[in-house]
């Protein structure tokens, strides 16, 4: 099975992406996983919205502690 087909066969769900985006704040998403996350974000406006929500909370906590 080619690497390309392997990736398609294991698409990430929104639930997976929500956990990976949260985890990314502590540990950068590994290269191979990052591509899959980016693919998902490219086609999923719901997860893009969630990503913006996370960013807002991150900035809120930055201001909270400053």
């Amino acid at each position: 099975m080619s690497p390309f087909r392997h990736a398609i066969g294991h698409l990430l769900s929104c639930k997976d992406v929500s956990r990976l985006l949260s985890q990314a704040e502590e540990r950068p998403i590994a290269g191979w996983q990052r591509v899959r996350v980016q693919w998902h974000l490219a086609v999923c406006s719901m997860c893009r919205s969630f990503e913006r929500q996370l960013a807002l909370m991150r900035e809120a906590m930055r201001r909270y502690r400053s």
Partner: protein, 191 residues
Amino acid sequence: MDPNFGKELERQRAYLLRVARLQLRDTALAEDVVQDTLAAAIAAEGGFTGKSSVKTWLTGILKHKIVDAIRRKQREPISASTLDEDADLEDFEGLFKGNGAWQQPPADWGDPEQSLSRQQFFDVMQICLDKLPPNTARVFMMREVMELSSEEICKELTITANNLWVILYRARMSLRECLETNWFSAGDNRA
């Protein structure tokens, strides 16, 4: 001691108490820890270079005092109690359909600055932070306020990196729901 410095320290007391209470879940202990922090700050006045804000500098001292207090309090590794006592990861399963897609699209929170520039937003956020279950709150504050590294937190609380990510995920998802309910869906708070 420079009296203005002393006044500045006192002004920070309320903030330090909020952070310590969230971490320690014990008001009396939090007050002791804050008192120790301010005492240490007075003693170290000469060492304050002014490069960071007083708040940031004090938070650094507070961090060490809280970690010491947690160490003294800790009788058993936190991981078991953290994973049982607080809401399960499964509680957030309800946010997703069987195929893993969102049940409800995450809402558009609008221009961040419209919220982040308002004190009322931070009042609501404080309430949401206070609502976090105790161990979740502790870990979240260690990471987001005291800016301890993942390694430092895992070492202090004897939890694995995976435990840490699960706890932080829960904290963020809880905070998100609380802010959505109490701020972003209320009237004109989406701009």
